[in-house]
Amino acid sequence: MKPAQVSKALFTAFIYAFFYLPIAILIIYSFNNSAFSLVWHGFTWQWYAQLWQDSDLQIVTLHSVIVGVLASTCATILGTLAAVSLYRYKFFGKKLIHSMIFILIVSPDIVLAISLLILFSAFKISLGFWTLLFAHITFCLPFVAVTVYGRLAGFDKNIFEAAKDLGASDSKIFFKIITPLLWPAILAGWLLSFSLSLDDVIISYFVTGPDFNILPLQIYSMVRLGVKPEINALCSVLFGVTLLFVCISQLALKRNSVTNARN
């Protein structure tokens, strides 16, 4: 190999190492036989066994997955509709919708959290599952809209005009032309939303009620005394599941990959 190629390979390896080192650490330490995740005390499955029995953590994980799936699905539907409407139609307040999407993307979490909290209290909506779901849909929606819109902008507008001239109704164009063309972007938007939803602490903290706890909040309250191996184990499992999920979707997509759509 030429020196240039070697340095290229080394550089790429360095960046990947940078990305994966923390992940590797949390996976390795999930097998550490010590409640203190600092020094290696030998191999153990005990944290995974404990995880298996910790019904509280399981319920909380289930809550998170349910909210994540529902929120990202709703956000994907709404976000796709928003992108398509903004792209194709002229309507009242289009600029405003544009700005709202922009504002949702740029406002700091704490601001969105507090303003939603005020909104819910102004309308006397009691905090819990529903408020959490609404909040998650809201902060995921713009990311889907932007992703889908980016893909849509890459197409020739004439396709839709041609379809219309041939007598296709708008809903037909949406379901038969737009959706199939966009589905990598839609999937990408969904995956992005799901990961945002699973990772959100600040907004969830303020909009959830006493009877509905989710995983990021649980993790947040548990990491305060140093990361417990059980949390490492849980994150490793989730990482494994994500990886599996990604592999399956990769296989299914084959050529039209998710990442393609993101760009």
Binding site: L117, S121, L127, L217, G226
Partner: protein
């Protein structure tokens, strides 16, 4: 698909019914109640505890203030927040006739100025803010007072608690002022005093204090007694000091928010916590001291005799209960921002 739908549906239904009578919603500091106690309560009473946590009074206050119907039945604010919240009618008076075992409480910790007559609050745990140092780095007995932290040899070593009132209390005590001062001149003086301390500060933290001292990522600094006790169990080189100038005694108390939906269960919960053996379990599990005098005999020997947890009367005389500072809180906050900017 249908199955998933059905599952989700049943999930909502379960959730809807879970809101029934057999529930109590507790909002407490993180890591402030052992799991074992919760399980015992659920087993004995059949009441399900929805347990959520916060890490500072401000967050809890903001959530309750912005949405009074949020549905918590028990909250555990610190002294100065009890003071503020009762004045703002965010708490409801506690009907003492419904309590069992109130007489067990240590009279020295009852009926304080933040809540005269304990009409709104029942003490839960007590802790002191002091200094912790590691004898591998500094000789034993070399640190006795807050002002020692200003010495140049501690350059880039100190951990300060990331709590505006705690930091300013330290400086105010060094200057000989009251930690609850609302006098702008005194607050400013404290700010200037703290500015001189900055070169020594390694970090501000309020969440992982215990782990940081155990792993020697910081070797000297401020600490809450519960964290100090826990850290000492893991790292025997750590020593706790009650500073000479005085120290803040933080007492967190159970209170019932004005709109608590499950009042009867809230009382059952408080009564459960008031039981001496339960109070002892909580104190043992967290490393903080119990205000329940009758609980002392259930404590492990090492804890009962721990100077950190139960200081003698002479030390206790230097203790100070924090009060609400009202609008001056703004000044404190502004100076903290300024302080961190010059760090």
């Amino acid at each position: 698909m249908r199955k998933i739908l059905l599952f989700c549906l049943s999930f909502f239904i379960i959730n809807a019914f879970a809101n029934d009578e057999k529930v109590v919603n507790v909002y407490n500091w993180s890591d402030y109640l052992p799991d074992e106690v919760l399980q015992q309560f659920e087993k004995e009473t059949g009441i399900h505890v929805n347990y959520s946590t916060y890490d500072n009074n401000e967050t809890m206050y903001a959530k309750l203030k912005a949405n009074p119907d949020v549905g918590y039945d028990i909250v555990v604010p610190s002294t100065y927040f009890i003071d503020r919240m009762r004045r703002e009618k965010m708490l409801q008076p506690i009907d003492k006739k419904r309590l069992v075992g109130l007489s067990n409480m240590n009279p020295a910790l009852m009926n304080k100025s933040y809540d005269p007559g304990n009409n709104y609050s029942i003490p839960y745990l007590v802790g002191s803010t002091g200094i912790l140092y590691n004898d591998l780095f500094y000789p034993i007995g070399s640190i006795n007072a807050w002002k020692d932290l200003w010495q140049e040899k501690y350059h880039d070593r100190l951990l300060l608690l990331d709590d505006v009132r705690e930091i300013f209390s330290m400086a105010l005590l060094v200057l000989g002022y009251s930690p609850d001062t609302t006098n702008p001149e005194q607050i400013k003086a404290a700010y200037q005093k703290l500015q001189a301390l900055l070169p020594n500060v390694k970090l501000f933290n309020d969440e992982a204090v215990k782990a940081i001292y155990i792993d020697e990522d910081a070797t000297i600094g401020m600490v809450w007694s519960g964290d100090a006790f826990g850290a000492q169990q893991e790292n025997p080189h750590l020593h706790f000091v009650f500073p000479k100038e005085g120290y803040v005694l933080s007492q967190d108390s159970m209170a019932i928010p004005a709109n608590a939906p499950h009042l009867a269960n809230a009382y059952r919960f408080i009564n459960f916590i008031l039981r001496p053996e339960i109070a002892a379990k909580i104190a043992a599990g967290t490393g903080y001291s119990t205000p329940n005098a009758a609980a002392m005999k259930y404590l492990p020997e090492a804890m009962r005799n721990s100077e950190i947890m139960y200081p003698n009367a002479k030390i206790l005389a230097r203790a100070h209960f924090q009060m609400d500072v009202g609008d001056a809180a703004d000044d404190y906050e502004k100076y903290l921002e300024q302080l961190k900017l010059s760090a």
